[in-house]
């Protein structure tokens, strides 16, 4: 009995000790980690809006580079957000919810729409969160479309747990570049039966050079790319309709 009590006491003491150490380290670094996450989020949003630091040419970035590799000055990020990006939250109506049938956004009552204003104060682009099913878990992205709702400006994948080197390559510049100037007119054809956005094995030109409705696949990451495609087709259809129906509220 005494031995058992001694064992239990030892376990309790050592557990409390290690938990205390971890709690201290966690508390000491909590602010820094939260700041890192906030900066990463803002960098992702700016990348999707095609806003890059002045000295960065996206075409010259390494194909395997990610948004984290783009160096920003923190005060510059905050300045752009203050002057150019606005966020509004709008409720989703019951009729609009039908469009979210197969979407991971279907549980939400409202959505955040980020608006980029040009120098004249007019709306230049709309940004929003996209969510879909990857191979191993949920993929979350931030997508941006033009003010006429016919072209995609850009995308950044903010959260994913896909296989490093395979599905996780969706976060690389090479894959994301195909979303620039992606043709979204298929979403405006309400009689269309085929998906508005498709994936092809190899594209001769990027969409920036010649706008099409196709993306280039990633070798060995078929299921991840299929998940991204399903997410784009479902969520963009919702957002385009949603923004059209809420244009007056947004512009006010």
């Amino acid at each position: 009995m005494q031995k058992a009590l001694a064992t239990i006491s030892f376990m309790i003491i050592i557990t409390i000790f290690f938990i205390s150490v971890l709690a201290f380290i966690n508390e000491s670094s909590k602010e820094r980690i939260a700041k890192n996450l906030e900066i990463e989020k803002y960098k992702s949003i700016l990348y999707a809006f095609n806003i890059l630091p002045e000295n960065i040419n996206e075409k010259k970035l390494e194909p395997t580079s990610t948004t984290s590799d783009i160096e920003w000055e923190e005060n510059k990020i905050m300045e752009i957000f203050k002057n150019q990006i606005k966020k509004i939250t709008l409720p989703i109506t019951r009729e609009q919810r039908n469009l979210l049938k197969n979407s991971f956004l279907s549980w939400q009552d409202s959505v955040d729409i980020y608006i980029r204003l040009n120098k004249k104060g007019e709306i230049a682009a709309y940004g929003f969160t996209l969510k879909g099913k990857g191979l191993w878990g949920t993929i979350t992205a931030f997508g941006v479309i033009s003010s006429d709702l016919k072209k995609m400006i850009g995308i950044d994948f903010t959260d994913q747990v896909e296989t490093p080197g395979l599905g996780a390559r969706i976060i690389e510049t090479e894959f994301k570049y195909f979303f620039r100037n992606l043709d979204l007119t298929g979403f405006h054809d309400y009689t269309r039966k085929t998906p508005a956005i498709i994936v092809v094995k190899k594209k001769g030109k990027t969409n920036s050079e010649h706008s099409t409705n196709s993306l280039q696949a990633i070798t060995g990451a078929t299921q991840t790319v299929d998940g991204v495609l399903a997410m784009i087709n479902t969520d963009l259809k919702f957002y385009i309709t949603f923004i059209e129906e809420n244009t007056q509220i947004i512009t006010n």
Partner: protein, 210 residues
């Protein structure tokens, strides 16, 4: 700790009793993350840190840990150090933390760490246990780094993310450049590279013995 014992321990962990090629431990992560060199390097460093400090801690507590709960205590210690690694990566190198994703947490399940704690740290002095932890980690790391180097080079045509094979092939007159060996990027590539490495290592050991 005598010098000769330390040297013997180093030789053992790096080659004669290498955790991957001889003890066949840590295979899961060897197959999972060795398709990109930089990710592999960070994982190797993380594992070395966790193994070394877990071994040191268990060795310091070896005379007070009740036998019945020794594995629970070992798991607690390993998990604590892995959480520390995860927090430090998130705070100071968030890019790497993001790239490694769930694989940092999986260090807890790497059998090399538990194996060394049970086989060595719980019955040796702290200095030797710490050295064993470092050398086991390095022994594991260099194996996975060699595998990662070839998998990234043949699979992506890159070294540390920099494209080398494509300009090389184009320079040699192949207009299509480097055609990626998709097989090398996927899990079977890891199986084959690991098997080849173990085969070469064991053959060298056999030749030396004979």
């Amino acid at each position: 700790m005598t010098n000769s014992k330390a040297i013997e321990l180093i030789k053992d962990d790096l080659w004669k009793n290498n955790p991957v090629t001889v003890q066949i431990l840590g295979i899961c992560s060897t197959l999972a993350v060795t398709n990109i060199f930089l990710n592999t390097l960070m994982l190797g460093l993380g594992l070395t840190f966790v193994t070394a400090f877990s071994s040191l801690t268990i060795s310091l507590l070896r005379n007070v840990i009740p036998t019945r709960v020794r594995m629970m205590v070992q798991t607690l210690v390993i998990a604590s150090f892995v959480v520390i690694v995860d927090i430090v990566l998130k705070a100071y190198v968030p890019n790497i933390s993001k790239a490694l994703g769930p694989y940092v947490g999986l260090i807890i399940t790497n059998c090399i760490i538990m194996g060394r704690l049970e086989a060595f740290a719980s019955s040796n002095k702290p200095s030797m246990a710490f050295l064993d932890g470092i050398m086991s980690g390095i022994g594991y790391s260099y194996v996975i780094l060699v595998i990662a180097f070839f998998r990234e080079l043949l699979g992506f045509g890159t070294i540390l993310g920099i494209q080398v094979m494509d300009p090389l092939m184009k320079g040699l007159g192949y207009s299509d450049g480097w055609i990626q060996w998709a097989f090398m990027i996927m899990a079977p590539g890891g199986f084959f590279m690991l098997a080849i490495f173990i085969w070469i290592a064991n053959n060298i050991i056999m030749v030396k013995k004979s």
